[in-house]
């Protein structure tokens, strides 16, 4: 069996008494594209920098291709990295930037050929003699990728490589980056705070919170089967409702109204958090519905209309519902009935202070 491209065991980073990365375990098979996401301050960038060797580990170990690289310098790890600012050397041409990491002693012809091949790969043929200043943000980013790939890294590390770009070009480059990674089959770890970006490009998502990886899995897995209330609300939008278990397959929302839910793993009477995504909320006629709500606001968003609903049982709280726009969504002030299809509902244990 081939070893994982990257194996992290108990990796920890402490700055003084604060633990920034807390005993992280992570295993990435060769050729996968993994995104580290999480709110700011969750330790994702520090984790990435520890993989690169730019930060030392306070504990734990990092293995790349089966070799323990924990104590090694960045250059000895076989990693390539692209920074948010690209960090192109401004006084060197594109060619010199890309060739910077090539072994010394490489002949001029081999050097040139390698640079040309890499420029071809990232879609910038003929740019060798340009200065980084003459390039657009997107072009600079591609040069930075070419430079990182020049040393044939075993792992490519990307630190928010798209966040400095305009939204329009950003989406295009995201797809190009994805295609390039597939073509080269280079194991890639990317840090981003943009969950839509992560969902679009990653084979696997690792969601971090407070220095720990809270869940790792495919984007579909994370979106459809979040394991905690935090993940449900961080990746995509979610309605989180306080509830208690009132029977097999049923919970009582706000302690007032019963609704079916997959609560089999909980004991009756236990406090839980009931989660449902806005697009899963179903509107029905208010006449014979058990759960009623008033439409507080209605905002048109193209394909969908987002409704903010004030439920009858908890008029101070708000629920979100996304309704297809063409179906004729109700106006503000209308009273609607709500249904929460049990298959789209997730139930999480409720820890103190987790729910507002």
């Amino acid at each position: 069996m081939t070893p994982p491209a990257l194996q992290v065991r108990g990796l920890t980073k402490r700055f003084g008494t604060t633990v920034v990365v807390d005993a992280v375990d992570l295993q990435i098979p060769p050729g996968r594209f993994t995104c580290l996401i999480g709110p700011s301050g969750c330790g994702k960038t520090t984790l990435l920098r520890m993989l690169a060797g730019l930060e030392s580990a306070s504990g734990g170990q990092v293995e790349i291709d089966g070799d323990d690289v924990t104590g090694r310098s960045p250059a000895q790890r076989g990693v390539g990295m692209v920074f948010q600012s690209y960090a192109l050397f401004p006084h060197m041409s594109v060619e010199k930037n890309i060739a910077f990491g090539l072994r010394r002693g490489t002949s001029a012809a081999a050097r040139r050929a390698r640079v040309d091949a890499l420029l071809e790969t990232v879609g910038l043929p003929g740019f060798a003699k340009r200065s980084p200043r003459e390039l657009s943000g997107g072009q600079q980013q591609r040069v930075a990728i070419a430079r990182a790939l020049a040393t044939d890294p075993k792992i490519l590390l990307l630190d928010e490589p798209l966040s400095a770009l305009d939204p329009l070009i950003r989406e295009q480059l995201r797809d190009e980056l994805r295609a390039l990674q597939r073509r080269l089959a280079v194991t890639t770890v990317m840090v981003t705070h943009d969950q839509a970006e992560a969902l679009a490009v990653a084979d696997d998502l690792a969601v971090m919170r407070s220095g720990r990886i809270e869940q790792i899995g495919s984007p579909e897995d994370i979106y459809n089967r979040p394991e905690t209330a935090f993940i449900a609300s961080f990746v995509g939008a979610a309605n989180l409702i306080p509830a208690d278990v009132c029977g097999l397959g049923a919970v009582r929302l706000w302690g007032r109204v019963e609704t079916p839910a997959p609560s089999a793993s909980f004991t009756v009477g236990e406090s839980v958090t009931f989660a449902i995504r806005p697009e899963a909320v179903r509107l029905v006629s208010a006449d014979d519905a058990r759960i009623k709500a008033v439409v507080a606001t209605r905002s048109f968003a193209g394909a969908m209309v987002r409704l903010e609903l004030a439920p009858e049982h908890a008029p101070e709280s708000r629920l979100m519902a996304d309704i297809p726009a063409f179906g004729g969504a109700p106006e503000a002030g209308a009273v609607v009935g709500l249904e929460f299809p049990s298959v789209r509902v997730r139930v999480f244990p409720r820890s103190a202070g987790e729910l507002a």
């Binding site: 690169a52 060797g53 730019l54 990693v79 390539g80 600012s85 050397f89 006084h91 200065s131």
Partner: protein, 546 residues
């Protein structure tokens, strides 16, 4: 087509008019003096004497050698010191920075004086070198290097202080070791700073009169020729021609420097992170020793001056006495020279701050037509490339002309303030420019929307926000005015004595101990000015909302 609008162009035109009166017109007079014959025709005869007369030819050659030699000594030392200050975690960096800047606080001939005390005919250490003295090249190079060192250091520290940490991380990721990183990343990043520092050192050195006079040992340089021609023989055409010879390489050097500036790419961009240096034993040890030596030499030479000023008869009777501080017993102006220098310093600071603030405001916050803006930028930089001797002589020729309505300025304090402000204008201007530039560019528009005029916004918003720069510029101008010799040596009227000039004159008259004493007095006066500046800045920092 855009209509020329007076309102927008008026500030720039006013700036250009002032610069014409205080810089361009005097320099034209200087030029005319050198190339117009008494009969009225153009002549190159005077200039040609520098290429034919043996003494003058040697002076030109010596000046060029001196400028290059001092730059060759100062640049590596200043670079290493700047590197130690900005790119290492050596202890006592603040102390080193303060010591390394100390030569700025004394007239440039003080180090020459100290070298004479140590290595001159009656030098304390001369016997150690079996009687060989430092007069001539060794002393001259050392004294001018000492004087120029802090100027280079300031520029190189600025060049090395801004570093993008990401570039260094990327170089490490790509396998570059410390040496490769230094040669490929650090040095190219500081290239512009090195060129600027070289230009400044060269220009300062070739225009210096003090060191050649004190320790030159008869070695002839152009600045000395100008000095002797004007003050000794009243030979204004030769003086003017010599001043032009000093002006030309400075102008050329500044042109080179501007070119380098244009080629320099911004090494620090948005999204960059500060570079955090890490300890490196061998490097830190070497730099530490070198910096220790630099600090030792600076403190040592200033200390020797202080020591010599406090003994009865150097080096034979080292008993303590304060007699050298009884300035009124010596020919040179007495205590009133110190008072007059203080007044010149305060006057220069006051008028210079006002002029430089307005100049920077015009350059950065008014929208004149493009050609006017370029002219403003060029003229603001021009004083930096005008040697003090050339400016001083130009002022005599221009303002002493009875047909000039500005003749009233001549022969009083006003001309000294005008010359000093003009001479040191560039640094003051650039300091305000960087302060004013950083302010929100929509303040004026916001003011207009609130019904306030440009002047109100300038006085109530821009000026208060520039207060830290104001303190910095005031101290800079005060120190410059109290230490300069070259800008004022031709201009001071009989009833005004200046301390820095007194140092020169007393040493000339053989009273070298009182000269050293006066030099130390200037040092302490400027130390106090620095401390006042520091206190004011920290007070401002506390008042400012963070």
């Amino acid at each position: 087509m855009r209509v020329l609008r007076w309102g927008e162009n008026l500030p720039a035109l006013a700036f250009l008019a002032a610069m014409t009166v205080f810089l361009v017109a005097p320099l034209l007079s200087l030029f005319a003096q050198a190339v117009v014959s008494p009969a009225g025709g153009l002549t190159g005869a005077v200039l040609l004497r520098f290429a034919s007369a043996p003494g003058l030819k040697a002076a030109v050659r010596n000046t060029a050698l001196l400028g290059v030699g001092v730059a060759a000594i100062v640049l590596p030392l200043a670079f290493a010191t700047a590197y130690a200050l900005e790119r290492t975690r050596l202890p006592y960096r603040r102390v080193l920075a303060a010591v390394a800047g100390a030569p700025l606080l004394v007239p440039s001939l003080l180090p020459a004086l100290a070298l004479v005390y140590l290595f001159g005919r009656q030098g304390l250490l001369t016997p150690v070198f079996s009687g060989r003295t430092a007069y001539g090249w060794p002393g001259l190079l050392a004294a001018d290097a000492f004087a120029a060192f802090p100027h280079a250091l300031i520029l190189l520290r600025t060049a090395l202080s801004a570093a993008d940490g990401r570039l260094y991380e990327q170089a490490a990721l790509l396998g570059a070791g410390p040496w490769r990183t230094f040669w490929r990343i650090t040095l190219p990043g500081a290239r512009h700073g090195l060129v600027s520092a070289g230009v400044v050192v060269f220009s300062l050195t070739i225009a210096d009169v003090g060191a050649p006079k004190v320790i030159g040992g008869g070695l002839n340089v152009v600045a000395l020729e100008v000095y002797k021609a004007v003050l000794g023989r009243q030979d204004f055409p030769l003086g003017a021609a010599g001043a032009l010879m000093l002006l030309a390489p400075s102008l050329l050097a500044v042109a080179i420097e501007r070119l380098a500036a244009r080629r320099q790419a911004a090494l620090v961009s948005s999204g960059s992170t500060a570079y955090r240096p890490k300890p490196q034993r061998a490097r830190d040890l070497g730099l530490g020793l070198l910096c220790g030596l630099v600090g030792f030499v600076i403190v040592g030479l200033l200390g020797v001056c202080q020591w010599a000023a406090l003994v009865r008869l150097w080096p034979y009777d080292l008993g303590f006495t304060l007699q050298s501080y009884d300035f009124d017993r010596f020919d040179g102006g007495g205590w009133s020279a110190a008072i007059d220098s203080l007044l010149l310093g305060l006057g220069t600071a006051a008028f210079g701050v006002l002029a430089a603030f307005l100049g920077a405001y015009v350059a950065e916050r008014t929208r004149a037509a493009t050609p006017l803006r370029s002219a403003v930028a060029v003229l603001a930089l021009a004083p930096a490339s005008t040697p003090g001797l050339a400016l001083g002589l130009a002022y005599i020729l221009y303002f002493n002309d009875p047909s000039n309505p500005l003749h009233v300025l001549y022969g009083g304090f006003a001309i000294l303030v005008a010359a000093t402000v003009t001479h040191y204008y560039t640094v003051a201007h650039l300091t305000f420019v960087s302060a004013v530039k950083a302010l929100d560019h929509e303040f004026e528009a916001a003011g207009r929307a609130l019904g306030k005029s440009r002047l109100v916004v300038m006085a109530r918003v821009i000026a208060p926000l520039s207060a830290p720069a104001l303190v910095e510029v005031s101290v800079y101008l005060f120190v410059a005015a109290t230490t300069t010799v070259s800008a004022v040596v031709f201009l001071y009227p009989p009833d005004v004595k200046l301390a820095a000039v007194a140092v020169l004159n007393m040493d000339d008259a053989g009273d070298s101990a009182p000269a050293a004493a006066m030099g130390t007095l200037i040092l302490y006066m400027n130390l106090v000015a620095r401390l006042v500046g520091l206190a004011a800045r920290s007070r401002l920092a506390r008042l400012a909302p963070s």
